[in-house]
Symmetry: C2
Subunit: 379 residues, 2 copies
C-alpha cells in the first residue's frame, strides 16, 4: 500500500467527537455561532435560486454572478479583483488542496508559521511535502527568519494565515507583509494567504491583504465564517496562468462546486447587506472574546500566558511548567469543558503546554462558566 495510507489519524475529526455531550461547554471547535446564521435570508435565497439552470452541471471556474460579488467585496476591502481572477472552490480547504496538487511534488518544501492550521499541515503531509517552520512572535512571522529559511531550504511555498491566525489569533503587521511579499517576489516563492477570518475584526484598523503587495501571493477567502460553512463555498485569487492549471486540477477533484449553493450565495449577496451582517457578527464575537479574556486571569495558574486577538475566533494559551495539555484534556472533560491541545498545530517540535480556546459558539455566561470549569481542571 502506498505511503499515503500511513496517514494515521485526523486530530480535527477526532476532536469533533468531544463536543457532542450537551452538558460540555466546548471551546474546542472552530465553528461559527449557528444562532447568528442568517437562516431566513438564506432560505429565501435558496428558494429563489433553485431552477433548471442551478440544478444542472456548470463551468468549473464557478458562478459568474457569485464571482462578481466576491470580486467587488475584495476590491472594496482594498484588493483590486475582477471576477476572472477568481476560482470558486468547495470551501477554502479545497483551494488549499488544489494548490498543493498543482504546485508541490513529493519532497517539496513548504514553509509555515508554527503553530498553524492543522488541516493545512495534513494537506502538505498527504502530498509528501516537507514542512519547515519559520520563527515569529506576537506580530506574526519574522521576515528575517523567513529570509534565512528561504536561503537554506528553498521552499516552493509559504503558507500563512496572516490575519487572526488559527490557532494563535496573531496578525502580521503591514510592514512585515511588505517585507514577506518582497521576499516572495525576489525568490519566486509562492505564498498562500489563507484569510477566512479577516473580516471578523473587533478592534483596530484592517491591515492590507498580503496579496496587495505581490502577484506571488495566492489569496484564499471563504463564505464559512461570514455566511455559513454548510454551503462549502470558498474562492481563490491567483494569476491567470496558475488559475488555468487550477481549473484543470479542480475538474478532476469535483468537476465544479455545487451549482445551487453558488447560485443561492449569489442571490443572498445581491438581496442582502453582508457587511451589515458581518458587523452584527463582530459585535457578538467581540463580547464573547472580551468575556473570555476577562475570565482567564482568575482561572489560569500564575505564569500562564495567552494571546489578545484583535479578531477571529481563537485565544492561544500557554501554561507554565512541564505540563502536557493532551493529558489535561480528560480532566477538563470530566469538568464538562473542552479545548484543543496545542501539539497538533505544530509541524515539528510541539509545545505541549499550549492549548487553543475558541470563543465564538458560547454565550457570555457560558464562557464565564466554561473558563471557571477550566480553572478547576487545571487546579
Amino acid at each position: 500500500m502506498p505511503r499515503k495510507l500511513a496517514v494515521a489519524s485526523s486530530p480535527v475529526r477526532d476532536l469533533l467527537a468531544l463536543v457532542n455531550r450537551p452538558e460540555v461547554i466546548s471551546f474546542a471547535g472552530g465553528l461559527p455561532a449557528p444562532e447568528l446564521f442568517d437562516v431566513d435570508a438564506l432560505r429565501a435565497a435558496f428558494d429563489k435560486a433553485v431552477s433548471r439552470r442551478s440544478l444542472q452541471y456548470a463551468p468549473t471556474e464557478g458562478d459568474l454572478d457569485l464571482r462578481g460579488h466576491v470580486a467587488a467585496r475584495l476590491t472594496a476591502r482594498g484588493l483590486p479583483t475582477g471576477a476572472a481572477d477568481l476560482l470558486v472552490t468547495t470551501g477554502s480547504q479545497q483551494a488549499l488542496t488544489l494548490l498543493v496538487t498543482a504546485l508541490l511534488e513529493p519532497g517539496a518544501v513548504v514553509a509555515v508559521e508554527e503553530p498553524t492550521y492543522l488541516a493545512a499541515l495534513q494537506a502538505f503531509q498527504l502530498a509528501g511535502a516537507r514542512v519547515v517552520p519559520v520563527a515569529g512572535d506576537e506580530h506574526g512571522m519574522d521576515p528575517a527568519a523567513l529570509a534565512e529559511v528561504v536561503e537554506r531550504e528553498r521552499p516552493e511555498l509559504l503558507y500563512l494565515v496572516p490575519t487572526f491566525a488559527n490557532p494563535t489569533g496573531r496578525t502580521l503587521t503591514a510592514a512585515r507583509r511588505r517585507e514577506i511579499a518582497a521576499l516572495a517576489d525576489r525568490h519566486g516563492l509562492w505564498v498562500v494567504e489563507d484569510d477566512p477570518y479577516g473580516e471578523l475584526r473587533y478592534r483596530g484598523e484592517p491591515e492590507p491583504a498580503l496579496a496587495t503587495f505581490s502577484e506571488r501571493v495566492l489569496y484564499l477567502g471563504s463564505f464559512s465564517k461570514i455566511g455559513a460553512p454548510g454551503l462549502r463555498l470558498g474562492w481563490l485569487r491567483a494569476p491567470a496562468e496558475l488559475l488555468r492549471t487550477l481549473v484543470i486540477v479542480k475538474q478532476a477533484a469535483d468537476l465544479h462546486t455545487s451549482t445551487i449553493d453558488q447560485a443561492a450565495a449569489a442571490v443572498y449577496l445581491a438581496d442582502n447587506d453582508l457587511d451589515a451582517h458581518v458587523r452584527g457578527l463582530c459585535a457578538a464575537y467581540r463580547e464573547r472574546r472580551d468575556a473570555m479574556l476577562s475570565a482567564l486571569p482568575s482561572a489560569l495558574p500564575e505564569g500562564a500566558r495567552w494571546s489578545d486577538p484583535d479578531g477571529g475566533m481563537f485565544v492561544w494559551v500557554t501554561l507554565p511548567g512541564d505540563v502536557d495539555t493532551a493529558e489535561l484534556l480528560p480532566k477538563a472533560l470530566a469538568q464538562d469543558v473542552a479545548f484543543v491541545p496545542g501539539a497538533p498545530f505544530f509541524a515539528t517540535v510541539p509545545d505541549r503546554s499550549a492549548l487553543r480556546l475558541s470563543f465564538t459558539t458560547n454565550t457570555v455566561a457560558d464562557i464565564a462558566e466554561g473558563v471557571r470549569r477550566l480553572g478547576i481542571a487545571l487546579g
Copy 2:
C-alpha cells in the same frame, strides 16, 4: 514547475463551449435533461432542509439520513449496503480522485477499458499513473485479456463503467462480472465500479453490480443522472479500512460535502418516490434513444457502425475509412450540430474515426433534425 503543470488541456471543458450557440443541436454533452428535473420537489426539499444545523460544518463521512436512504436503495437493487459502508462525496468525480489519492503512487499502473470516461483518464494522468488498456467487445471488457494484463503489468487498480459505459453505451455481462471479480480477489486488485447510469435502463433486466461479487470492488454512485447534478452528490461504497483512509483524504480535499445539499437530498428521498421519477426519466430517454437509433441509418455513410445501448446516455459511432472526427467537428458545427470526437476517450492509441453522441438533452424532433444535419456534415 512540477510535472502536474504539464497537463495542458481539458477536452470536456473545452467542449462545453460548443453547446452555447442556441441554434446548435448538441449531442456533445453528457448532461441530464433539465426539463425533466423535479424542480418543485427539490425546491420544497431545500426549503425544508435549510436550518441552523444544515448551514453548519458537518462530519466528513456525510449526512447519516442521506447515507441511510442511499444504502436502502442499493440494497433494494441487490447490493447489500449499510449507511456505515458509504462515504458521501462531492459528486462521484470526487470519489474517483479520492481513490486515486489513497491508492496510487506516481508510476502505478491502472487498467481501463478503452475507450473510457475521459475525466477518469485525466485523474489518473494527474496522479502520474500509467494507464494500460484492456481489450473488450460489445459485451464489455474481456476477462481473458484482463488476466493477461494483470499478469504482465501488475496494475494496482482497474477502472470500469460496467453498465451503459461512457462513451460506448456497452454493458458487461454477468458472467464476465463474476470472472473479473474473481480475478480481482485472486490478485488483490482494486476495482472501481463507476455506476452513474445503472438505473437508466430502457430494455432488458438489470445485471448484478460488480461489487456484489467481491470486496475488492469499490462502488461509485451519483445523484447527478437520477436527480440533479447541480447538487454535486455522489457516494462511495468501500470496505471499512479503506473508508477510514478515504475519510482522511476527503477531509484534506474539502472537509465535507455541502451540508445543505446533503440535507435537501435526504428530505427529497424521504418525501418523494425517486423510483417513480427514474421510471419517468427512462420513458423519456428511451424515446430519445429510439429516435436517434432510427435516424442514424439514413444519415451515416455506408459502412458506419454504432452501438445499440440498453440504457444510459450515449451512442458510440465508428465511421468507415480514413476519417478524423476531430476534423469533422467544425463541419458539423457549420451545420449547427455538435458531437464529441472519439480520440480523447482513448488512453493509448486513439480511434480517430469514432465519435460520441448523447441523446438525453434533445427532443425527439430535434434528435431527428440533428442527425439529419450530421448526415449533411458527413456527406
